[in-house]
């Protein structure tokens, strides 16, 4: 914001010491100019995003407060104790946290232990989208050129982006802490709530700053978002692995910004210094981004564009081939990244089995929950993992359908294609076919990766046949995300973003639906509610449910095509 320009201007004269020639006046001016216009750009960002920012702040604080209230009303002391036992299991650690305060598990301790990961995740996604939207996407659209042609410094857009993000995160943190405090009554420590939320916000800011670095390297906004999310995924994996090594975190945990929020030990034994790590990391990443930005041209990445082919290969013929050409890189990178992630998870199954056996020996209550058989732990762990696998594939399906189609339409490329003898139905069906096939391939790669990872460490149960069944039963649920976003795109392209809302709702239902005893009608929103439990014994209605879900997907796709056939094409919207 404007203070950023101010500090630079103040700092520079301090360097003017007679003993050594630090900076000539010209150099000082250049320094100040790198940030010129930051304040104005920040105000412009706030103006453009004010609605988006309000919604994020409201949803986050309401959800966190609701989470705290629900935990204290649904769970009594003994239920919380049982939950604490679950939190010592591998799936509890991966999907929850490092396990501080498990001995005296109160609702707010549970919020800190289990909620932090998800709060940081939501805020990080928000941060990554914010940063890429205001940096790389601006360059891609050419708007940055117009802005930078004004009296605006090279780093001003980046600093304005990060400053507005920090301010937004701060507001969310304070609001959420206050909302939690208000919902809990007097016995809540407001300081702990603030500590938890500020640390989560600071972690998210680190991922925002990482996205800023990525945006300097990658020359497309889609690529920048993808790579930044991959960075988050890696941090998630590192934190999980680190905490699996030792409860309350091992050295490995500390390499993940996610851990820095969890290691604040809010509501247990609050400490503040992990915040310094987040701040230092953010500053370092900003410095790196600045150094990279100084070495590249506007609109370009770090890797110079290579010349292409003078002509198209013979197979680039028709909309299917073009859709594949446009999506294959995304599919390849997602398959590689997620495949490695799930392969790693699969290879942990062996260690988890051992760990589970030890746990049951120590805590007989867990045996009652999961059975004495360590395979029970593996199955429940796999079930949690399958939800994540399927949600990742669902997110891919949404991007591959609506993001891709919208991009073609609003850029004007669709106009060029439809002016040729290509029917609307033909074009849209081609896009959908490639998107659905891509999502199916991604799901197959991920499920196969878990199986391969498990097989590598000698875990042969469940067998490959069961993995194949899990793939087949989850496929219609994954494709339903593509079908819903296709339906929205076909009828009301402006509302196509709602498919992300469905994905978030499904995540919430999947993680907390059973715990908070949501009504059946709410649970039914999630396509996974209709999917047979993975790696469990098959039940009578399983096949009917899978077929039913497939029919729904098919019907939605047909409706989407009908809608697209009758609506107008709008370029530049």
């Amino acid at each position: 914001m404007s203070t950023a320009t101010g500090t630079t201007a103040h700092r520079v004269p301090g360097h003017r010491t007679p003993s050594h020639r630090a900076e000539t006046p010209a150099e000082q001016r250049r320094h100040a100019h790198v940030l010129a216009g930051t304040g104005r750009l920040a105000r412009q960002i706030l103006r453009r995003d004010r609605r988006r920012m309000l919604i994020w702040a409201a949803v986050m604080s309401v959800f966190i407060a609701y989470f705290a209230v629900a935990l204290s009303t649904v769970f009594d002391a003994s239920a919380l104790a049982a939950r604490a036992a679950v939190m010592r299991t591998p799936s509890g650690i991966v999907m929850g946290g490092p396990g501080y305060g498990l001995d005296d598990y109160t609702p707010l301790v549970a919020v800190a232990n289990e909620g932090t990961t998800w709060i940081v995740m939501a805020l990080s996604v928000m941060a990554i989208l914010h940063v890429v939207r205001h940096t790389r996407a601006e360059e891609e659209s050419g708007r940055a050129e117009l802005v930078r042609a004004g009296a605006v410094g090279r780093m001003a857009p980046a600093v304005a982006t990060l400053a507005t993000l920090a301010a937004h995160l701060l507001v969310i943190a304070v609001l959420s802490a206050l909302a939690t405090f208000a919902s809990q009554g007097e016995d809540t420590s407001l300081v702990d709530g603030l500590g938890l939320m500020l640390a989560s916000a600071a972690s998210a800011l680190v991922f925002g700053a990482a996205a800023l670095v990525v945006a300097q390297i990658v020359s497309t906004s889609r690529g920048a978002v993808g790579l930044s999310l991959a960075v988050f995924g890696a941090a998630f994996a590192v934190r999980s692995a680190g905490d699996l090594i030792a409860l309350e975190g091992s050295t490995l945990s500390w390499f993940s910004p996610l851990a820095w929020a969890q290691q604040m030990r809010a509501f247990v034994d609050l400490r503040w210094w992990p915040l310094l790590l987040s701040s230092a990391a953010t500053a370092a990443l900003l410095g790196l981004a600045s150094a990279l930005a100084a070495r590249r041209d506007l609109g370009q990445g770090m890797v110079p564009a290579r010349p292409g082919h003078p002509g198209a290969p013979g197979r680039l013929r028709g909309p299917v081939a073009m859709a594949w050409r446009q999506q294959r890189a995304m599919l390849g990178w997602c398959s590689l990244g997620l495949g490695l992630l799930w392969f790693g998870s699969g290879s942990m199954l062996d260690a988890l089995g051992d760990m589970a056996t030890d746990l049951v020996a120590e805590t007989p209550a867990l045996g009652a929950l999961f059975g004495e058989d360590p395979d029970g732990f593996i199955t429940s762990f796999l079930a949690v993992i399958m939800l994540s696998v399927a949600l990742c594939a669902g997110a891919y399906a949404i991007v591959a359908t609506h993001q891709q189609c919208r991009g073609e339409e609003s850029s004007g490329r669709l106009e060029l294609v439809l002016a040729a003898p290509v029917s609307r139905t033909g074009w849209f069906a081609a896009q959908l076919a490639v998107a659905l096939a891509g999502a199916a391939v991604l799901l197959a790669v991920c499920v196969g990766a878990i199986w391969a990872g498990a097989a590598l460490v000698g875990v042969t149960e469940p067998g490959s046949g069961e993995y194949a069944t899990v793939f087949a039963t989850h496929l219609p649920a994954v494709l339903s995300f593509a079908a819903v976003s296709a339906l929205l795109y076909g009828w009301a392209p402006r509302l196509a973003g709602l498919s992300w809302l469905l994905l978030s709702a499904v995540l919430v239902i999947g993680m907390f639906g059973a715990m908070f005893e949501f009504p059946e009608a709410v649970l039914g929103i999630s396509p996974f509610h209709w999917v047979p439990a993975p790696f469990a014994a098959t039940e009578g209605g399983d096949l009917a449910r899978t077929l039913g879900l497939s029919v729904v997907v098919l019907a939605l796709l047909v409706l989407a095509l009908l809608g697209f056939r009758r609506r107008e094409i709008r370029s530049g919207s």
């Binding site: 013929r317 439809l418 002016a419």
Partner: protein, 311 residues
């Protein structure tokens, strides 16, 4: 069979009326200019013609077919160049040309090579690195390499340098000579004057003039500037004389007049009678016509029905 036949076309976006009773025809082998200022509705009309937007009223026929319902069959016979060409950023220009040509049918590689050379386009560069002019060239090469019967060109030379504009002019002339029909939307008057047989001028979604260039020129005024020694004070009052100004100069009086073409034969003798010393007459141009319709004086003309001789 008429390539383009639009009558009374109305198109609304919410409460905004983009097109309001537009008439536009392009006959076989006709090169029609489609003139109008920014925002007059030229691109909207073309998008309706391509079946991308739906007409709210009037009739739109493309090769006697319905552009919304029969889009695919009709598009086999036309080639389109948008005013702002968007390409696939990760494809090279050559790849984009091949893809677009193949959508239309069997491309002719020799023709592509020839056009690439004429437009001096490097097909190996990624579309992301192309300038606006180069993206325009990609669409032009793809269009002119095709065997279309009708070329729909929406401000096709925006971003082209004068040399490339000349190449474009040649290409259009070549195709017109082969008997293809062309609809050339533009606001560059010289381009339309150079290329088109007929012109439709629209303003705020309504046609204000339509006809052959010769017919339209008829509607315009010749600017006459003369220095006379004698008394010409009666001239400004003559019928068909507009915007007369006079000033004293060394040789006598300088008169500047806009004269309706129909009144020239009556005005010129009066000037010679007044001992004309020098005389220049600037021929009517489309620009005058354009300015007359869109210039400041227009406010007063509003509501006067268009007098297009061709309609």
């Amino acid at each position: 069979m008429t390539p383009i036949d639009i009558r009374g076309l109305t198109k609304r976006f919410g409460s905004f009326t983009a097109l309001d009773g537009l008439d536009l025809t392009v006959g076989p082998a006709e090169v029609r200019g489609f003139l109008g200022p920014n925002g007059a509705g030229k691109s909207t009309a073309i998008r309706v013609l391509l079946g991308l937007l739906r007409a709210d009223g009037g009739t739109v026929r493309l090769f006697d077919g319905d552009p919304w319902a029969d889009a695919v069959a009709l598009h086999r016979r036309l080639a389109y160049v948008p005013g702002d060409v968007a390409l696939w950023p990760n494809l090279s220009g050559g790849e984009a040309i091949d893809y677009l040509s193949r959508l239309r049918g069997t491309p002719d590689p020799r023709r592509k090579a020839e056009l690439l050379e004429r437009f001096e386009l490097d097909p190996r560069k990624k579309a992301r690195t192309y300038s606006k002019g180069n993206r325009q060239k990609v669409a032009l090469v793809a269009a002119f390499a095709s065997d279309a019967e009708l070329f729909v060109l929406d401000e096709p030379t925006s971003g082209l340098d004068p040399l490339m504009e000349a190449v474009f002019t040649e290409c259009v002339r070549d195709r017109a000579a082969e008997g293809r029909a062309v609809l050339l939307s533009s606001h560059i008057l010289s381009e339309v004057e150079k290329l088109c047989d007929t012109v439709t001028i629209i303003r705020a979604g309504r046609p204000v003039e339509a006809g052959t260039l010769a017919e339209l020129r008829h509607l315009t005024r010749t600017r006459v500037s003369a220095v006379v020694r004698g008394d010409a004070s009666a001239v400004p009052g003559l019928d068909g004389v507009h915007d007369a100004r006079s000033e004293s100069v060394e040789e006598g009086t300088r008169l500047t007049l806009d004269v309706d073409d129909a009144a020239l034969s009556a005005v010129l003798p009066r000037l010679t009678d007044a001992e004309v010393v020098s005389l220049t007459a600037t021929p009517p141009s489309l620009e005058d016509l354009f300015l007359r319709h869109y210039g400041d004086e227009i406010g007063a003309d509003d509501g006067v029905p268009a007098t297009g001789a061709g309609r």
